[in-house]
Amino acid sequence: MSSIDLKLVIWRQNNGDSLGDFETHVLRDISTDMSFLEMLDVLNEKLTKEGREPVAFDHDCREGICGMCGAVVNGIAHGPEKETTLCQLHMRKFNSGDTLVIEPFRSRAFPIKKDLMVDRSALDRIIQAGGFVSVNTGGAVDGNSIPIPTETAELAMDAAACIGCGACVASCPNGAAMLFTSAKISQLCLLPQGQPERKQRAAAMVAQMDKEGFGYCSNERECEAVCPKGISISNIARMNREYLKSTFFGR
């Protein structure tokens, strides 16, 4: 097991109303087997021991699935490794002596709460606007009475794998939430269950995106590059088609 020394330049901000600034810390003897969040744990234990306030950051599963962690590391959301959440990024990907600049996901629609912690509830509200199939509990028909070809199920699953982390928004120059929204729209419009509400859904979710202050896609592809789940921008093309259909051809 080897270890490295690092310089952290990390964003500190007390709350949404206060001004933030970068703070520098030096960490020595960081085991290369640590995850990025474990490295932050070590920093926080150190700060606590020094009588200072630890850095606030969101996280929970530490398995790359809950979508709660995330920060921008040296300009890249979730850090430099492809298709990896911050909690699954390991320190062996860095070299001794590296400087790491760590900032929160920044976007107009994601207000900063504290340090690296942001409010991503705008994404929830997009789902609340129509990211579901309107079916009450009870009385569903037998699962096998809705046959779905394997390829369709797989395509739907590819889209459904989005963890709602918001990295796509943070990396987009326009602060668009289109990769996230299109993933849900795609999942449901590919499946037979999603057909009845197909048009309202696209219209309502896009309208909510607008209302939340997200921008629009201008094909920068930054979202796809940072998405930890490899969600493809072909979903955005599909969403645009769905949206057009919903506006031009009515409900």
């Binding site: 630890p54 929830d124 699953m157």
Partner: protein, 642 residues
Amino acid sequence: MELNPNVPSGPLADKWDTHRFACKLVNPANRRKFRIIVVGTGLAGASAAATLAELGYKVDAFCLHDSPRRAHSIAAQGGINAAKNYQNDGDSVFRLFYDTIKGGDFRAREANVYRLAQVSTNIIDQCVAQGVPFAREYGGSLANRSFGGAQVSRTFYARGQTGQQLLLGAYSALSRQIGKGGVTMYNRREMMDVVVVNGRARGIVVRNMINGAIETYAADAVLLCTGGYGNAYFLSTNAMASNVTAAWRACKRGAGFANPSFVQIHPTCIPVHGDYQSKLTLMSESLRNDGRVWVPKKQGDTRHPSQIPEDERDYYLENKYPSFGNLVPRDVASRNAKEQCDAGKGVGSTRLAVYLDFADAIKRDGEEVILRKYGNLFQMYEKITDSDPMKEPMMIYPAVHYTMGGLWVDYNLMTTIPGLFALGECNFSDHGANRLGASALMQGLADGYFIINTSVAHYFGSTALEKVDTGHEAFTKTAAEVSNRIDRMLKNSSGGPEGKVTVDEVHKQLGKLLWDNCGMARNKEGLEHALAQLPHLRQTFWERVYVPGAGRDINQSLERAGRVADFLEFAEFMIRDALAREESCGCHLREESQTDEHEALRDDTNYSHVSVWEYTGDDQPPALHKEPLQFENVTPTQRSYK
């Protein structure tokens, strides 16, 4: 404490129908007059909140995450069981019932488990209707696989992300109700206490995790869906924020706690590798279909695995259990791994690991086949450990995974506090002393989608509830107690950290104490030692723990401190329960109770019961009550996997 399980009479297969007919209903126009609090929005809570709101009740839902979609349920990998018999391999409701009861080593209530098996089929239909993208066969029908403890293929799955997709399904149903106004969602609120008025649960006290405000909410019924307490051990496969607080606070207000020592240790996890480690990662049980488990025959053999010749390896599971081999159930596999490491045959730098070797399977089936089957798991393993399982064996070790113990509930999922219900992993009801794979997801959704609606209607329909709001003195009093407790935790914050310890340091000590003495194998001496250590640890916590920051602010150290304080109290229940149960069963081996061949020895004469613990005061030992278990439809037999 009165323990009436309220199991309906009559034949097993008819109980649920009989019960549903006997239960009172609430007419649709009256439902909107009732307010229900749902704490926790994992599978159990999200499905319950959505279902009750669809019926017309007013629902307030709470979770400690920034969004309900983050609940720990999201992490489940393997799948969910249902007695669909789609594969025509002889599955039935009764067989799922039987496998679950036997898997739990005959320590669960028959009627509940049977009902679980009955509604399991509706769960799959419900989820399909929501658009959950389950794996499909080429003909378009649903695909299944098999899982430990079953000889039929009844597990439904969505890649390795079944929990994620099921939760997103329930979350979408919940989101729809939030959008419609049927559910008011309170994110980033941590429940700190239950409010009891005239013996009934009438509300909760929460801490707003953004501004630290202590808030109170009143309702006609309270549902706890707050998950399991595996994090008492510090290291576990649970998400970091999983905790016992809600259940423990309910317990202190009079809810009985059942089987607190029943903790499942999962055999195939990535081993601990450093003292900075924050959590353990599960590797799916399915790997044991092709991986062979072994250790070197010689103690302290530090050679690279490739340097250890075949005849110097001990394939201990295959040798000891010739008919089940590497596919013995979780409890057996876990105990044997520990036994090997305790005997000095562990591998890796910490010596607390065994090999899971795919070399033979690769030779037999070819790299491509193995990669197709396990590719994503291999990748995950490689990401964490930097070692490629295609080239050298994986290293695995057991880790705390799931808690079968929980709040005691009757057939209606109601705790011993009227109006307080517990759903999902938070209750004790369906898994006995060991949980089979793919059945926790099933239980969470069964409780939330299909059972609680009947219970809640019956409770409202048969109970005269007085009007209570948050102005009631019980609310102000409970809220004041919560505030005082927070102030006490922050009192060491002044004067800097000199001579003080951090929350994590105390939590790690508690975890080690529990793991060493109340883990996979326990004995009287160790348990008594642990019990004697607890007061010191609690004292260290209250006198020396340093919690930086303020209460009226986002303060993650304070959040952790509150949870650890509750683990420190609750641990006493776990240890006392383990001490009282002088038998081995399921995941729990009492070293004093073994067969001549070192297998777990159950004692049905003395321990065929649920142990229910009642809190009697901070400085008092808890009182033990017993719910006897009756088996009318299955005959408890000694489990053997030889």
